[in-house]
Amino acid sequence: MSGAARLGRGAALALFALYFALPLLSMLDFSTRAKGDAVGRTGQAWANLFQDEDLRAAIITSLLLALFTAVAMVVLLVPTMIWVRLRVPKASRLIEFLCLLPLTIPALVIVVGIANVYSWVTYLLGDSGLTLTFAYVVLVLPYAYRSIDTALSAVDVGTLAEAARSLGAGWVRVIVSVILPNIAQGVLGAAFVSVALVLGEYVFASLLHFDTLPVEIALLGKSDAKTAVAASLASLIFASVLLIGLSFLHRHRRSPS
């Protein structure tokens, strides 16, 4: 490559890097500023993540929600997708359509229409923020579906199942002991994406009046901007670690793209 071209590339990449790094660095700077006009740094905003009661409660709620959603998604989606491949292949188009539907219907729209459904849910299960699990499973469906679908496509599910069945395994055995281990990477990926999504979800939580981390951060923004920024950065870092860890998972087991 010519010298001028190389220089141009480098400059372009540097500009992009700057554009993306700036807000992130700003968050770090902003959240560690000393009070008022004082010079120096303080970790007070970050300490509030543990000290502020509301914030702490919201963090715990969101983390639990993330866990519940990931588990519920796996329990609901994985057996269904395997079942479709093994026994009801004609339904695969339908399942795919339904799983990708949440991409086309904005979350905001679903929230608007879900009020009735959720009044039943809270009536039956109480009004903890954890009931958001049901709605969140719907929101993560497209991403989870794609991850698991890719993993299932890389393995010849039909042949594996037939081989296991011919050796005497029942259907449950087939799913749990034979197929699951082979798609573990895809399932894990789906779980990671679900967690990342739940930690940042705001539409449902705020409009249904539940107190999750993003809702609390938004509330804090009006009174204590620094803590809000610190909490935002913390949740971003957490989600990034998850997602980047995910991409390393992919590197160890190359799947066809």
Binding site: P106, L108, I114, V137, E201, Y202, V203, P214, V229
Partner: protein
């Protein structure tokens, strides 16, 4: 009857799908149908077109127009800049560090919506934001002005932050799909680099580019959280108008206006995604 039993046995495996279908039915299909149905429901519960007509009111139309501008401009900017970045990454080689790093970071930033993004920009360009203060002290420029960050122009700048990485994620596979044999064949037949791009690469990439841009459009149009945090007053865009309708901040006499607005959103996104699906089919026919 034997026939009936056989039919049942044949249909039995389908029962395994019931949990999933029931779940989707309750938590996705029912809300969507509720939105559609309630749009046509008046305060008294009877059928009415008043909500739909209210969509034509000046406030609603302005909000829609702004939403379209927001989605359109960020889709265009995101698509162009994202395509450039995608090309820079792909041309570095399939196993380069740059590629892996950029794709990993894009994966994170594309999901980086909502609240976190809003505060990132408040920390940067807000009244006491890092960049604002820096520019205030050194060149003496007041970049904050009257708070443009908290209106439509601000949203445009902020949305690009996740549109560009999203474009990278969606467009890199298209660039990967450009087979090396096409380039070599073109060169062998006498094409210069420019001719290769003009006659082969660009025509092949155009459907993927347009499709990706549509995806970005739908993504921005439906986005809520960032705008909800940045904009506390007024309803410049449709999603925020819905927020207002739901929290009854405005009383227009149409109780179910929020539902009609939601229906409007469904229609817009459905149209865009429909076009996207068509373009996707064209691309996959060529590139697989």
């Amino acid at each position: 009857m034997i026939g009936g039993r056989r039919r049942f046995a044949a249909a039995a495996p389908a029962l395994g799908l019931v949990p999933f279908l029931a779940f989707i039915g309750v938590f996705l299909v029912v809300p969507t149908l509720t939105v559609v149905a309630t749009s046509f429901q008046g305060e008294d519960g009877g059928f009415t077109l008043a909500n739909i007509r209210a969509l034509g009111s000046e406030a609603a139309l302005t909000a829609l127009w702004h939403s379209l501008i927001l989605a359109g401009s960020t889709a265009l900017i995101g698509a162009v800049l994202g395509a450039i970045l995608a090309w820079l990454v792909v041309s570095a080689g399939p196993t380069s560090v740059l590629r892996r790093l950029t794709l990993a970071v894009s994966g994170v930033l594309a999901q980086f919506g909502g609240v976190t993004l809003a505060f990132a920009f408040i920390a940067t360009l807000g009244f006491s934001g890092v960049l604002t203060e820096a520019l205030r002290s050194w060149p003496g420029v007041d970049i904050f002005g009257s708070g443009w960050l908290f209106g439509l122009p601000g949203l445009i700048v902020v949305y690009c932050y996740f549109q560009i990485p999203l474009m990278v994620l969606v467009f890199v596979p298209a660039l990967d799909g450009l087979r090396v044999q096409w380039r070599e064949a073109a060169v062998n037949l006498g094409a210069s680099t420019w001719q290769y791009w003009r006659h082969v690469a660009l025509p092949l990439l155009t459907p993927a580019f347009l499709g990706s841009m549509l995806l970005l459009f739908a993504n921005a149009f439906a986005a809520y959280a960032t705008a909800a945090v940045l904009v506390s007053q007024g309803n410049p865009i449709t999603p925020l108008f819905i927020r207002a309708a739901l929290t009854s901040e405005i009383l227009l006499g149409q109780a179910n206006l929020g539902f009609a607005l939601a229906l409007e959103m469904i229609v817009v996104v459905a149209v865009v995604m429909g076009l996207y699906a068509l373009l996707l089919r064209r691309t996959s026919r060529w590139m697989t």
